[in-house]
């Protein structure tokens, strides 16, 4: 194997002492440090790199940058396999593995290339027209078939083993692109003292200047770049970020960027992410993203060996690679001639320079003479060759055609400013007749555009623009710009240009070859003509009908030619035909980078109660409840199923005493002279008469009349209340109360603060609860039934002086207390309660037992507080005060919300007591079919009651309270349930509440 047969003997920004070996489609090759995968493949003479999307045509490398439509590969293997990676931007590393895509069985011999023979049928709109009917065939037959035949790379299909992270940055000036314009901007702002972030997607900074043999101030451009980078590196407030793509512009100076931290390494180093997504907050930004060269549409223009002229210079001058030995240049501007010069200097034969412009600069002809190259005033009408370019048909202005043989065609058709980011805030680019391209118009606030990205397509303008805009940005941020030195002098360059969008079919072609507009989506000029004929003329229709400009490259090389051909078809100009507004991201961004560490267990934070360790020690099984982990039940050895455990826990509470963590409840401390008045307005019930040292159940509505939340609120002092909320609604209620205070009633003297995390709280429930508490509460506090009756709420001390709050409230219906201590003492509190309760057989219980007992008592919880229930629906209508105004009062009285047949909360028990009830089952009258018209409501909560020894349920039933004693069916078609149930009051145990007062 000849080592890198197309590598030049010298030159280029590669390190020939650093060999990098890699594999492509299983075969081993070598390249050098500083190569991209594309340049290394070309150095090895590999020109066929992929098969096209629809027709499976052989494709080669078109470009040398992020605009690449063809050279997409699967990079890496196994779980790290990454599809649709552009070979032109993939930095070569030792051991790189890549595979071509969309071919079977092999790249050179692809069976599906027969699609080309069927090409007349595979025109634009083919899928819409062909796979119409029968509709049932779509999912099973058509779609899988299409997906296999047409497609890009394969996803890894396994969990990504690497890490991604998110980061935030702030600066005065963000410079996007480190070419001549960007470097100048960063220098001007950095010298003035501004905080500058300079991002470039490339691993080497310098932009397109790296690809050119240019001089700045009579020195090689590479020296100017090196000096600029050295100076920027010496400025303390300038941060240089290579391998970082700014992919989006968002409101108010927020920029999204992705930094490829480890993509140039086989695997990320220890503790390093693969990629890092940045949110950069910049007061100003300069977009200096350069420009993208445009291909020409002609027959066979997708043959491997047809390459953009600027890309040819990149491979020659930056990578030291000769992309072909016998070259033709097809250019519509002066710029392409530079490629002829550089190719000849590297030893290639220039078979011809084809330029349609009759009125060229005479200096160009002189250059051709020096190079010994023939000049044809005309166009390239077609290319021949299958897996590699073999020759061209050249048509002179006279119409005479001739065949030329060559292995490289460098195409130059002018440049499109890389203005994507400038249009991210929904501004449409404007057409510039001078350069025949769209240029940014009205860029987002704070962003200015420099150099080629602004359509100012010369090195001299780039340097001037950058320095000016960088200085202006610094001044706008309050930094006095340093006096600008004279702009650097550059060697002359020709920018004259007159584009040719497409060349119509060649006469000599025996078999008309396709002319591609969009290489990535296999859209031809004929497809665009068809779209025009069929009426899909507006640019958005054109895109969707033909798929022009879709997929990973988003039409970077194709959009304009597509517009130009549509304009020609409709007799309009290009700007009349339309322009594309770009949306983020500029280039594809891995979802992993956007997600960062927020995946799997870390998708969102986990909150642990202050008593979590104690629950773990008790062997708790935990359940997620919002962000919280709550103890669900505490199995004992030998208990194999959860119901056995929960039954034991419930009976322990009912007959002895149990202990449950309730720290996760929301707690809001409310103080002020108007605190009671404030509660009057947010709760449906009254608060002014609540004595100090007492708790009361409260219910609050939304302004639309539906229940928002419930909980107990205690009056700790005349002007001091402590509100509790449900665990789920803690933050929402806090926000609501602040709204009421600040927006609705700012004159009330009241303030509130969330203290949910400041207190650990435990429920001690059961006939022996007081006996247990007496072992924990300091003896100077009398907690006898007389001194501390039901609904008492007072500050106490525990464990010899630890401040605590004791509430005699009950969710279980038993004699019960809730004891709160500062969160740090939560663990000690639980252990002290367990010790004090040991002689009484104290039993830890979890949320399941809590749920069983509240259902036995008919207390509502999250299942009933579902945002669609009113106080009346929940049987709490009598709580609602008629003597005061409160949130939701008026709307709760709307006709439909007080209708007699609304579903209202009642209890249910199975007629056959051995049957199990299911939450979610719908109620249907006896003998009626289970249809929507017969639906009378649904079961909200069910539990097995170990006290009653059968299943019980709560549910919302139409006109429920008037139907006590009737029977209905609880139908659950999803689980084949159809249970006859008896309607009963929504309280199954101790309806008089005698136990509470024990």
């Amino acid at each position: 194997m000849s080592a890198q047969p197309f590598r030049l003997a010298g030159g280029g920004l590669i390190d020939r002492s650093q060999t990098r070996s890699f594999r492509f489609d299983g075969r081993r090759y070598e390249g050098y440090a500083g190569d991209t995968l594309a340049s290394a493949l070309l150095a090895n003479g590999v020109r066929l790199v992929g098969r096209s999307f629809k027709y499976h045509r052989p494709r080669g490398i078109l470009s040398a940058g992020p605009e690449e439509p063809n050279a997409l590969v699967e990079l890496r293997a196994g779980a790290r396999r990454e599809p649709n990676t552009r070979a032109t931007t993939t930095e070569l590393y030792h051991g790189l593995e890549a595979a071509s895509q969309n071919r079977w069985p092999s790249l050179a011999f692809d069976l599906l290339s027969v699609n080309q023979l069927a090409a007349p049928a595979l025109v634009a709109g083919f899928y819409y027209k062909t796979f119409m009917w029968p509709a049932r065939f779509w999912e099973k037959l058509y779609e899988p078939l299409i997906r296999r035949a047409a497609g890009l790379g394969r996803a890894a299909g396994r969990e990504d083993p690497d890490h991604y992270e998110k980061a935030f940055a702030f600066c005065d000036l963000l410079v996007i692109g480190a070419g001549p314009a960007g470097l100048s901007a960063a220098l001007a702002a950095g010298r003035a003292g501004a905080r500058v972030i300079l991002c470039d997607e490339d691993f080497r900074l310098g932009g397109k200047l790296l690809n050119e043999k240019r001089e700045i101030d009579a020195r090689a451009a590479s020296e100017w770049i090196a000096d600029a980078l050295a100076e920027l590196g010496s400025l303390p407030d300038v941060r240089i970020m290579p391998r970082t793509t700014v992919f989006g512009v968002y409101d108010h100076g927020v920029y999204g960027a992705v930094e490829r931290v480890s993509d140039h390494l086989p695997i990320p180093p220890a503790h390093q992410p693969r990629q890092r997504s940045w949110r950069i907050n910049a007061k100003r930004a300069v977009l200096a993203a350069g420009a993208i060269e445009r291909p020409i549409v002609f027959a066979g223009n997708d043959t491997p060996g047809v390459m953009l002229a600027g890309a040819v210079r990149a491979y020659l001058n930056r990578h030291g690679v000769l992309p072909g030995r016998e070259a033709v240049i097809f250019t519509t501007g002066d710029d392409g001639w530079t490629t002829a010069r550089d190719l000849a200097a590297a030893g290639a034969t220039i078979a011809a320079i084809v330029d349609p412009r009759p009125d060229r600069d005479p200096a160009l002809t002189a250059l051709a003479t020096r190079l010994g190259a023939r000049v044809v005033t005309g166009i390239v009408a077609g290319a021949t060759g299958g897996r590699a370019l073999e020759g061209l048909t050249v048509r002179a202005a006279s119409g005479r055609e001739e065949a030329l043989s060559c292995d490289l065609l460098a195409v130059s058709n002018g440049w499109n400013p890389t203005l994507h980011l400038a249009s991210h805030q929904n501004t449409r680019p404007a057409w510039d007749d001078a350069i025949h391209a769209f240029v940014p118009s009205a860029p987002p606030a704070g962003l200015s555009v420099a150099g080629a990205a602004a359509g100012r397509l010369s090195l001299a303008l780039a340097l001037v623009d950058g320095a000016r805009l960088g200085g202006e940005a610094a001044a706008a941020c309050g930094f006095a710009p340093k006096p600008t030195p004279q702009p650097p002098r550059t060697d002359p360059e020709g920018v004259a240009h007159s584009p040719v969008w497409r060349v119509r079919g060649g006469k000599r072609a025996f078999f008309p070859r396709k002319a591609f507009v969009d290489f990535q989506n296999d859209v031809t000029d004929a497809d665009i003509e068809l779209a025009a004929r069929e009426g899909f003329r507006p640019v958005e229709h054109l895109k969707r009908y033909t798929t022009l400009g879709m997929a990973t490259d988003q039409g970077k090389t194709s959009n304009l030619a597509g517009l130009a051909i549509m304009a020609e078809q409709t007799g309009k100009t290009i700007p009349e035909t339309g322009a594309t507004i770009f949306r983020p991201p500029y280039t594809p961004v891995a979802i992993g980078a956007l997600a960062g560490h927020h995946r799997a267990r870390d998708f969102r934070p986990t909150r642990l109660s202050p008593t979590h360790r104690w629950s773990q020690d008790q062997g708790a099984v935990f359940v997620e409840s919002g962000l919280w982990m709550r103890a669900q039940y505490y199995p004992k050895p030998g208990e194999s199923d959860w119901l056995t455990t929960v039954n034991r826990e419930v009976l322990a509470v009912r007959n002895g005493v149990g202990l449950c963590d309730v720290s996760t409840l929301g707690k809001i401390d409310i103080q002020g002279a108007d605190a009671a008045e404030f509660l009057e307005r947010v709760y449906v019930n009254g608060w002014k008469a609540l004595p100090v040292g007492k708790a009361r159940y409260g219910l609050m509505l939304r302004e639309d009349g539906f229940v928002m939340d419930d909980g107990t609120t205690s009056r700790l002092a005349q002007t001091h209340f402590l509100m509790t909320t449900t665990t789920a609604n803690a933050a929402r209620v806090m926000q609501h109360l602040e709204f009421c205070r600040q927006v609705l009633w700012p004159t009330l003297d009241v303030r509130m603060v969330s203290v949910s995390e400041h207190w650990a709280q435990a429920a001690i429930a059961g006939p022996k609860a007081r006996a247990v508490l007496q072992g924990v509460v300091d003896p100077r506090h009398d907690i006898s039934n007389e001194a501390f009756p039901y609904l008492a709420a007072r500050a106490v001390t525990v464990g010899g002086g630890v401040p605590a709050r004791l509430f005699r409230i009950s969710f279980s219906g038993e004699l019960a207390y809730e004891l709160a201590v500062p969160a740090d003492h939560g663990d000690a509190m639980m252990r002290a309660l367990m010790a004090a309760g040991e002689p009484h057989g104290i039993t830890p219980y979890g949320t399941e037992a809590l749920g069983v007992m509240r259902i036995e008592k008919g207390h509502v919880a999250g299942n009933e507080l579902n945002g669609q229930t009113t106080a009346r629906d929940l049987g709490l209508g009598r709580m609602v005060s008629a003597k005061k105004d409160f949130i939701g009062r008026v709307m709760a009285k709307r006709e439909a919300l007080v209708a007699a047949d609304r579903p209202v909360l009642v209890g249910f028990r199975p007629v056959n007591r051995s049957e199990r009830l299911r939450a979610g089952a719908h109620f249907v009258g006896p003998g009626r079919s289970a249809t929507l018209e017969n639906d009378e409501g649904f079961m909200t909560s069910v539990a097995y009651s170990p006290s009653l020894r059968h299943w019980i349920g709560l549910g919302l039933l139409r006109n429920g309270p008037a139907r006590i004693g009737e029977r209905v069916r609880a139908v659950d078609p999803l689980r084949d349930g159809d249970v006859e149930v008896e309607i009963c009051p929504a309280c199954f145990l101790d309806p008089e509440g005698a136990r509470l007062h024990g």
Binding site: H252, R279, A445, E703, E738, F739, V743, W745, P746, V890
Partner: protein, 91 residues
């Protein structure tokens, strides 16, 4: 988006939650009519342009703020803590 909180300085929009129009006034008191309340709870303009609206700085100072924003560009014209009695939308 960045929101310049008058108490905390410019902060990311993620720290805030949005409520809606700032101008509807709650018909307080026992004599509020259902029609007035319906208007207050449900009727909203949907302007393309200048909009006075309420934001809550939940991950910051807990202040409710009146923000004047252009709905087409998200440009924020002014921001201040809510002050006026009754300058609120439905919760």
């Amino acid at each position: 988006m960045r929101i310049p909180c008058p108490h905390c300085g410019a902060r990311d929009a993620q720290e805030f939650s949005y409520l809606g129009a700032a101008d509807p006034q709650r018909p307080d008191g026992l004599d509020a009519t259902e029609a007035a309340m319906l208007d207050y709870v449900y009727q909203r303009d949907n302007p393309a342009g200048r909009h006075r609206e309420l934001w809550y700085h939940g991950a910051g100072c807990h202040a409710w703020l009146t923000v004047t924003r252009d709905t087409r560009t998200h440009a924020i014209e002014s921001i201040e803590p809510v002050r006026r009695r009754g300058a609120g939308a439905a919760a």
